[in-house]
């Protein structure tokens, strides 16, 4: 005999009618702060309390930068070939198809032109969600054509990098994208069209060793991991633990490879100020 007798039968709500908090409504930063995603969105995806910069993709950056989220996308339908017939745990075309399905992206970069505070700007922005933002032929080609567009129209070029490096499944082709994009940047440089490279978390490997480090202005978001070799590889090579803050944006700034670090909430206005200074 229990002390209390249930008069009504316990839980009567059927499973399908249960009200669950939808997934992804709240975001927890590594520092432990919990933010509502709406608030995060209104704050350029920066946690208002601890300033943590959440990883975002091209959709969000375009939204932040282009006036009224209006822009013309370039080469929106370009997607990857399979020149090597590459197979690891699954064939490369299947991996591409599955990733396109899950991310609703065509590849790891999107390029567009539009207005930022009234100024013309060409932007190429990488998407880390697409195979770690890896650089294959599509990334190389789209960036190259975006630079071509910047060259033709004498429009400043902004590159937002976010990548683990080269895409192994395109091996030699992937490597040559470093050369190809750098060649185009050399032309842009000769034409004296401003190039701003924004490095975001993370920017490593072949991307760091090509276009990401070639800006007239190299700038980064706070706390971003920036390096050539990944931290794990370096730890294995040197056989000791890496110092705290190693390869952070602040570390890279300290060693002289960045012009400044910019809070994402100030990004649009900072870029505008800089580009206006160069205009006349």
């Amino acid at each position: 005999m229990s002390w209390f007798q249930r008069k009504v039968k316990g839980i009567t709500t059927p499973t399908e009618e249960k009200k669950d908090a939808p997934d992804g409504l709240w975001f927890k930063t590594p520092g432990g702060t919990i933010v509502h995603t709406r608030e995060l969105k209104n704050n350029a995806y920066v946690s208002p309390e601890d300033g943590f910069h959440v990883r975002i993709g091209s959709k969000e950056y375009f939204e932040i930068l282009f006036d009224g989220n209006k822009f013309t996308e370039l080469d929106a339908n370009m997607s990857s070939g399979d020149p090597l017939k590459f197979v690891d745990s699954k064939p490369y075309p299947k991996r591409i198809a599955a990733t396109q399905e899950s991310t609703r992206l065509k590849d790891a970069v999107r390029t567009a032109h539009g207005k930022m505070n009234g100024l013309d700007l060409v932007v190429a922005c990488m998407d880390f969600a697409f195979i770690g933002g890896s650089m294959g032929s599509v990334v190389g080609e789209k960036i190259s054509r975006a630079i071509d567009h910047a060259l033709k129209t004498k429009t400043p070029f902004l590159m937002i990098s976010k990548s683990g490096g080269a895409r192994m499944m395109e091996a030699g082709y992937s490597l040559m994208q470093m050369a190809k994009t750098s060649a185009k940047l050399a032309l842009l440089s000769e034409a004296k069209v401003p190039y701003i490279s924004l490095l975001t978390d993370p920017t490593t490997g072949g991307v760091t060793a090509s276009y990401a480090m070639l800006g007239d202005f190299n700038i980064a978001e706070p706390g971003a991991l920036i390096g050539f070799a990944g931290p794990r590889v370096i730890r294995d090579t040197v056989g000791k633990d890496l110092p705290k803050g190693f390869q952070s944006a602040e570390f890279v700034l300290e060693h002289g490879f960045l012009d400044f670090i910019v809070d994402r909430r100030d990004l649009k206005n900072q870029l505008t100020t800089l580009l206006k200074m160069l205009k006349d």
């Binding site: 080469d75 339908n77 370009m78 997607s79 990857s80 070939g81 020149p83 090597l84 590459f86 197979v87 690891d88 745990s89 032929s137 599509v138 190389g140 080609e141 190259s144 080269a166 895409r167 192994m168 395109e170 091996a171 030699g172 082709y173 992937s174 490597l175 040559m176 994208q177 470093m178 050369a179 190809k180 750098s182 060649a183 185009k184 940047l185 050399a186 032309l187 440089s189 000769e190 490997g205 072949g206 760091t208 060793a209 090509s210 990401a212 480090m213 070639l214 390096g227 050539f228 070799a229 590889v233 370096i234 090579t237 040197v238 890496l242 190693f246 390869q247 060693h255 002289g256 490879f257």
Partner: protein, 315 residues
């Protein structure tokens, strides 16, 4: 050093030596047998080296007896003056360079250098350059441009050094700058992969009017071992990784990512270094001739055009 797939050849060569010795000591006439065995060995060698798997080519490219960069520099030139230092931090021993004369033509020679024994390997950092190595190379490229001398680079590296100080001094920036600057060099640039051509570490001195590979070398975005460890999450799939990466000279030429292949002696460059030096030297002179006739503008445009066309996309 003996590679596994060379075992049958070595066995036959052993037999041949025995037979020759026997002939001397017993005065039995074995001339015919010797000839037949020699033919057999040659056939086996041709068979073996023609049908190497991609992984076996990688092994040959790393053969410790292969000629290294400085061996070429001293043996293909009449005079060679080595030049040191990046004028900023230090002299990177993994990246070597200097002026040399080849068949009466002064050229700037630059390349990664590996070591032959433990001590040298340490000094040369296994052919893995630091940022100052790439900056040293760029300094020499600019000097070549200043004095209007063509540039020849020899590539032989398992990658740019992934170290702590390398990151502090901007490994990524150093390589990126080299790639960009090499496109704008006014003088002819010939780049030859003589051993390993690993990733950005190789590309950092491999942007040229002509990019060539020796027959038994590899050039790709990652080594088969690292590729195996990342994609298969184990070091044991290097053979598969090498196959998947299609990293041999024949593959790369087939893709149009390089401009040509330089033949090696049967069994690899180390089997007949003198022949190899002569072949490399003649090829450099042959490639330089038409390039020297072009204007700087023509060369730069062609160079950019060539790399701009690399890639395969679906639209």
């Amino acid at each position: 050093m003996l590679l596994e797939f060379e075992q049958p050849i070595i066995e036959l060569e052993g037999k041949l030596a025995e037979m020759k010795q026997l002939a001397e000591s017993s005065r039995v006439d074995v001339t015919e047998d010797v000839k037949s065995l020699e033919r057999k060995i040659l056939r086996l060698k041709e068979e073996t080296y023609k049908n190497l798997t991609r992984w076996q080519r990688v092994q040959l490219s790393r053969h410790p007896e292969r000629p290294y960069t400085l061996d070429y520099f001293y043996n293909i030139t009449d005079d060679f003056v080595e030049l040191h230092g990046d004028r900023t931090v230090k002299d990177d021993k993994a990246m070597v360079g200097g002026f040399g004369t080849i068949g009466g033509q002064t050229v700037m020679l630059v390349g990664q250098q590996k070591g032959r024994n433990t001590k040298q390997r340490q000094m040369r950092n296994f052919g893995m350059a630091n940022p100052e190595g790439y900056r040293k190379a760029l300094r020499l490229f600019k000097m070549a441009e200043k004095f209007n001398k063509p540039i020849v680079t020899l590539i032989d590296t398992p990658g740019a050094y992934p170290g702590l100080e390398a990151e502090e001094r901007g490994q990524g920036e150093a390589i990126a700058r080299n790639i960009k600057e090499m496109f704008m060099l006014k003088v002819p640039v010939i780049c030859i992969i003589i051993g390993e051509g690993a990733s950005g570490g190789a590309l950092g001195i491999a942007v040229g009017d002509k990019v060539l590979m020796l027959e038994n070398t590899w050039y790709s975005v990652i080594s088969p071992e690292s590729c195996s460890s990342i994609l298969w999450r184990s070091w044991d799939y290097k053979e598969q990784a090498a196959e998947a990466l299609k990293l041999t000279a024949t593959d790369m030429l087939g893709f149009g990512l390089i401009d040509g292949i330089i033949e090696e002696p049967l069994g690899g460059a180390h089997r007949d270094p003198d022949w190899m030096y002569e072949t490399l030297k003649n090829r450099i002179l042959k490639e330089l001739k038409p390039l020297m006739k072009q204007s700087a503008e023509e060369r730069i445009n062609n160079r950019i055009e060539k790399f701009a066309n690399m890639g395969e996309v679906v639209e």
